[in-house]
């Protein structure tokens, strides 16, 4: 684990969470749009 007290460590974790959630949202939005178009 990188130095736990470093700003980089806190930043990496939080940015990964944000980006992970956002990427999931974008993927799910595409899937929902496709399913809505199909039906």
């Amino acid at each position: 684990m990188p130095g736990a007290e470093s700003l980089v460590w806190v930043a990496a974790v939080t940015v990964v969470i944000w980006l992970g959630l956002f990427a999931y949202c974008v993927g799910l939005a595409r899937r929902v749009r496709r399913l809505e178009d199909e039906s």
């Binding site: 736990a4 007290e5 470093s6 700003l7 806190v10 930043a11 974790v13 939080t14 940015v15 969470i17 944000w18 959630l21 956002f22 999931y24 949202c25 974008v26 799910l28 939005a29 899937r31 929902v32 749009r33 399913l35 809505e36 039906s39």
Partner: protein, 228 residues
Amino acid sequence: MTRARVRTLLQWALCVWLVLVILGAFFYAPSALGFKGESARIVFFHVPQAWVAVLAFCVNLVASLRYLRTRDALDDARAAAAARLGLVFSVLATVTGSLFANVMWNSFWNWDPREVSIVILLLIYAAYFALREAVPDEERRASLSAAYAVLAFVTMPFLVFVVPRIYWSLHPDTIIGATGKLKLQMDSRMLQVLLGSLVGFTGLFCWLYTLEVRLARVRLARAGREEA
């Protein structure tokens, strides 16, 4: 302007907002006094995650009560979507809290009342999904899980707001104090970023919840067509 276009615009506005919050958390807000290193910056993400988890469990309660009144399968899907998001954001709040604990107290887990109460809450809502998986009949599953959700919600205020304030805790002072008064004694720049993050996470929750409900609507419509 079409609905799809409005959605795309809101999506990009939220993206820009989240980037601004991240930049604000690390470059605009000053370091907090009395905390090791830069660990306190996690508050800009940890507090909104906990807030969204509480919000999601409230939505789960409302949708469950609506289901018990209307018996509409979409209300059941709304309740399940809200509980799922509540569980996800509770896990994220626990993970970020645990990272903070490791920096401050050299251990990821300290059996602090707040850590224990959030785990009990996680188990209660995990049991909601175990219940849903265990009942094959759709109507029975929806009724039982709606009733369970109402009971589960009763424990939430105790586990989130009461228990951690009764016992001595390592957890830093919360925004809402033991007397129920707001304690926003922080640097104005930190407060701006925290409030911005609260808005961003709430927006993210609304987006996720709307998507889950739209997905459930499509699935229900398909199931209805297959039955007909």
